[in-house]
Structure formats: structure tokens, C-alpha cells
């Protein structure tokens, strides 16, 4: 039986290897063998941690959520529209690290659509994110930066849709959609919201 410290080190190694497989190959490429290769370990060792592929996928989702929630986020100087802008900037694949994270989440959608528990987790994650966007929109409405004509909850869905749809296009076409163009498109979208009657 390994000493406690070894055990924790090994768990951290597994987490890191799972993340590297996700970042490079997505959930589609996530197998015990791929994680073992990444660790320079045997597949047998990993079956000690994950009895089934589903266990591995669910664990990988936890790792992805932890790393995403712990990543450094830009902070807005002001509430309202400025905060909405930053919240959307924070999900765009503007750097290689952000692109790797986006790629993991886009690939997770496929895994989640085929698994009730992960599907529920993704639904909740979306709901929480839309809630945060809605709070920004409500503040922007209170500051008269945005009209109250469109309900804040609807603007939140629309903003989340715009951002994630742009993420997917940028992942497939980084040449046509580099960081500066993504940011320009975001400004178009936001100025569209502010110009609404």
C-alpha cells in the first residue's frame, strides 16, 4: 500500500493526464489506454481508478469543470454592459489555452447528450451561466445601457447562444476567426443590443 503522499501524487498525475487527453483529443479520444499512455503507466493501473469507461468520462467531466471554474478570469471594472462583455470574453477561444478549454467543452456536449447524469450537469451549468449573464443584463437595464423591451432572461439566452456558437465556428476556423475578429464580432453583438429600441 503506497504512503498517503504517493497516493495523492498519483491522483494528481491521473487528473493531469486526463486533462491532457481531453485538451488534445476531446472526450471522443478519452480512453483508459490514452490516459495510461499519457502517464507512462499501464492500463491495468487505471482500471484501479475507473471500473468502466463511463466512470472515466464522469471523472473527466469533474476535472474539466474544476479546471474551468479555477481558470483566471478577466474582471469587469463596472457592472452592467461592461460585465456582460467580460463574461462573454471569458468564454471565447482567444488564446491557445482558452481554445483547448473550449475544445474540451464542445466535445463534452457529445458525451453529455448520451448520458443522463452528465446531461443534467450540463443543463444546470447552462442555467447557472445564463443566470450570471441575466444579472449583468438586469444591471445594464437599470443603468439604461440596455432597453427593457427584451426580457433580461431572453437576452441572456441570446448572449450565451451567440458566444457558444462563435466558439464552435472559431474552433473550426481559427484562420478566419482569430482573436481580434472574435472580439470585433462581440462588439457588433453588444452594440446591436444597445441600439435596440
Amino acid at each position: 500500500m503506497p504512503a498517503r503522499g504517493d497516493h495523492d501524487t498519483r491522483r494528481a498525475d491521473v487528473a493531469e493526464a486526463v486533462w491532457r487527453v481531453l485538451a488534445n483529443h476531446g472526450f471522443d479520444g478519452l480512453t483508459l489506454r490514452a490516459v495510461a499512455t499519457e502517464m507512462g503507466a499501464s492500463t491495468g493501473l487505471l482500471t484501479h481508478y475507473f471500473a468502466t469507461k463511463r466512470d472515466l468520462v464522469r471523472y473527466a467531466h469533474e476535472i474539466a469543470a474544476e479546471r474551468t471554474d479555477a481558470r483566471p478570469l478577466r474582471q469587469a471594472d463596472e457592472p452592467g454592459l461592461a460585465a456582460l462583455r467580460v463574461a462573454l470574453v471569458n468564454v471565447l477561444p482567444l488564446t491557445p489555452e482558452a481554445a483547448a478549454m473550449s475544445r474540451v467543452w464542445v466535445s463534452f456536449w457529445d458525451a453529455a447528450l448520451g448520458d443522463d447524469i452528465l446531461s443534467e450537469a450540463q443543463r444546470t451549468r447552462y442555467e447557472n451561466w445564463r443566470g450570471r449573464l441575466q444579472a449583468c443584463v438586469e444591471a445594464a437595464q437599470a443603468r439604461r445601457e440596455l432597453t427593457r423591451e427584451t426580457p433580461a432572461a431572453d437576452v441572456a439566452v441570446e448572449a450565451a447562444a451567440f458566444a457558444h456558437g462563435l466558439v464552435v465556428q472559431a474552433l473550426f476556423d481559427p484562420v478566419r476567426l482569430p482573436a481580434d475578429r472574435q472580439l470585433g464580432l462581440l462588439e457588433n453583438f453588444l452594440s446591436g443590443l444597445t441600439n435596440r429600441r
Copy 2:
């Protein structure tokens, strides 16, 4: 050796079984075994068609593209904004059949991000779609339904982003985003475009 007719029938059976696996389980659930089970055939039979998993995935992509391109599409009565609206309506998961097709494509993104040839196919597919949306936007600008302030190519990316991002949210949360709400959100988005200065 089977007669020609038998051979064609079997090919059609394989195509149908692949589509059903995709619609129910996505690319993540696409295996020779799943297709064989769907056909009531042996996995051995399928290895005659697909030497590798990659062959199966690429074939499944062809089937998905064929079925998508052959599906009945709503037609616009007029060019310009009306045509843009219909083009976006045509990709929303408003019916169970459309939701199955959306689910296949969202799951395909994962498969495509891990395969250079499929990634290129998806990039081209996006480019073609954005080109069609851009033509609608240009017509809408010529009809003075939309301002020329935002370049048509940018509006096309934004519209594609909005629609696909809404597709993903609706797949995960059909209760909060049923067909009528999706259509309402689309109207918000379009009236936002027309109200831009």
C-alpha cells in the same frame, strides 16, 4: 456473391442503421457493435464494410451530410430578411426529427475536432452556410431591411453563431427552450438586427 440487388439493399440497411445509431447515441455511441445490433447482424459482417473505426466515422459523416442536405426545408416567400429568418429556422431543433439531426451534428463536432479530414469538411460546411446567410443579409441590406453599417459577412457569422448556440442550449434544455420560445428568441435576434443603426 450476392446478387446486385441484395448488395444495394444491404448497403441501404447499413446506412439506415448508422443513421439510427447517430440519432440515438451520437458519434460518441457509434461503434461497429452498435450498428450491428441495430441491423440484427454480426459485427463480422460490418468489418466487411469498415476496416477501422475511422472508416465508420467518416461514412457516418457522409450519411449525416446526405440526410441533412436532403431534408425538407422551409422556403422563404421573399428574399432578404424573410430568407434569413427561414434559413435560421431550418437549423433549429423545433421538431423531434430536427432535434435528432441537431444532436447528430453537435456530436459530430467532437468527432471532427479530432480528425483532420472531418475538421476540414466541417470548416467548409460552415463556410458554405455562412455564404448562404451572407447572401440573405446582402439582399436584406439592398432592400433596406438591414443597415449596411455592419458588414454582411459579419452578420452572417453572428447569425450562424446565434442559431447554433441556441441549438445546443435547446438540446440540453428542451423544457425551457421549446419550439415557440426558440422562435421568439429568433424574432428578438432578427428585430435586434433590423433596429441597428
